[in-house]
Symmetry: C2
Subunit: 320 residues, 2 copies
């Protein structure tokens, strides 16, 4: 089941983009004069919160599903996730009319399970441990012959995620800097490959919660240091880098910048209030990086990928 950790080239991202462009939304790039005034930068926001299933994850999932041979596709796809990847894979599978199996911890929020079911996936609940998750997934794959689509450590997923940055630079060729949230590193890897190929002078930063700073510590030490039970409001960024995403990031990314929880929540609130769009806490991480590091970005054209907009509206982190 392990895959040789091949590294995508920009050509692979171009092929992925041609493959999925009829299936994904070409999301808009928005601006805010108020935020430009606050930061002294020219900020551009790539709105993947408006993507199908409300997150960039659909790009990678649909690219992985469309890359399967008909024989592979006949057995379906499987993953373990309690978040946006599971919903994305479920919808991508439905769009090819194939089965999707998800191993999900029994502690996952009911709303997440409902979303995945809504898209027609079959859920197998497991204990909320890595071991139980992997055992359950292995069991599913053995029973069904489904192809395991890892949330980020997967060649086709990384290629799909890179298409957001490709569109971004096609629409805004003047960007000096690209800020991208980093959890497992799928979006950051794909974005960095695309951006550096299209504009070698661009600086790409990974943006990470201080409370889940494995990418930062790994980047600084030159070896992977996984996060142990990280806790952050940015619940899309709890995962740790893989060998593949780490090697891509080491080669193509300028630095990893971290922000505390309070900055993430303030940045999220600012985007909601000023731009009237809904972003999830993980998307607020690069916004917080821009707000907390004015000197670094002042006078620059800064592109930010707003990675998703899925929030539990009954349990928001805003308090007076």
């Amino acid at each position: 089941m392990t895959e040789t950790p091949t590294i995508p080239s920009f050509k692979d991202i171009q092929i992925a983009h041609a493959r999925i462009s009829g299936q994904v939304h070409r999301t808009p790039v928005l601006r805010s004069s108020g935020i430009n005034e606050m930061t002294g930068a020219q900020a551009f926001f790539k709105c993947e919160n408006f993507q199908k299933v409300g997150a960039f994850k659909y790009r990678g999932a649909v690219n992985a599903v469309l890359s399967l041979t008909d024989d592979q596709a006949a057995h379906g796809v499987a993953t373990h996730s309690s978040g946006n990847h599971a919903a994305a894979l479920a919808l991508a599978a439905r769009s090819r009319n194939i089965k999707c199996y998800v191993a999900m911890p029994e502690t996952a929020p009911r709303s997440k399970a409902e979303a995945v079911k809504h898209y027609g996936a079959e859920i197998t609940f497991c204990k909320p441990t890595l071991q139980s998750r992997e055992e359950t997934l292995n069991w599913i794959v053995q029973q069904t012959g489904a192809s395991f689509i890892h949330p980020y450590d997967n060649f086709n997923v990384i290629c799909g995620q890179g298409t957001a940055a490709k569109e971004f630079l096609e629409d805004e060729a003047g960007l000096d800097i690209l800020l991208v949230p980093v959890g497992g590193g799928g979006l950051l890897s794909g974005s960095a490959i695309a951006a550096k190929a299209m504009k070698p002078g661009i600086r790409v930063y990974g943006c990470e919660p201080l409370n889940a700073d494995d990418a930062c510590r790994s980047f600084q030490s030159g070896k992977i240091i996984p996060s142990l039970n990280p806790k952050t409001v940015a619940d899309g960024l709890l995962t740790s880098l893989s060998e593949r995403t780490f090697s891509i990031i080491m080669k193509n990314v300028e630095n990893i910048l971290t922000v505390p929880e309070s900055s993430i929540i303030s940045a999220m609130r600012l985007i909601w209030q000023r731009m009237k769009i809904i972003i999830e806490p993980s998307s607020a991480v690069p916004v917080a990086v821009m707000l907390d590091n004015r000197e670094k970005f002042e006078g620059k054209s800064v592109g930010i990928i707003l990675s998703g907009g899925n929030c539990d509206l009954s349990n928001l982190p805003f308090h007076e």
Copy 2:
């Protein structure tokens, strides 16, 4: 201080649009395949939540400010409001570099007063009664010579508000129906004049909270019946029709449809969750009308003006 209640023509709205088009955002029209599936209609959303100050009110305010002679403008503008009109007038005045005075009840939320101050207006607090508000406003006008810009019972304000529907029908000529929230009737009046002139067969409905249904009762009885102390989550729709807006509505509007509070909150939540955009409760009223009257709108192209996006994020109406 009273004005002859002249009725704008579509030509007046066209002139207003030419006057303000460099000052207002031409807001986008968004769609949602999920909501189309739910309703069986083709819904189009004109996003005035993305307008300056987060609401359509900026259109009318800036048109009123730009319509002043230089002599009038030198004395500034004044209004009484605790809502979006005050913020809109303050920003419009600042854009012409003139003074803005606002009589505001001392009970208004601090965030509203802050927003108005942020745009540079001078606030005079008064008691939260109609009498105190009018006395305070009269005093301001006498002291300063400022022009009173009524939130909706004003020729130039109605012309400005009508420009949103004009843009909407320019962008989406196929609309069968237009749904517009109604409070004092400025937006509904302007929208109906523009829409019926551009497409005589279009049906325009006013959409109102059941808990503040003065427009509905006035429309049915043929005479103005003001609301007495209405209470609704749609706090932009508490005001009652004026003679002028009532006469325009009687002539150009198909009917006034009402919805209960629970439908307004559900509709607001649906837009937030599916479209990832922030709308205020008043904007959710026409959405709720569409959802609650499936048989009326099925198979039709339905245009909805999302009037604004200003919410107190610390006090949202969503509960599990």
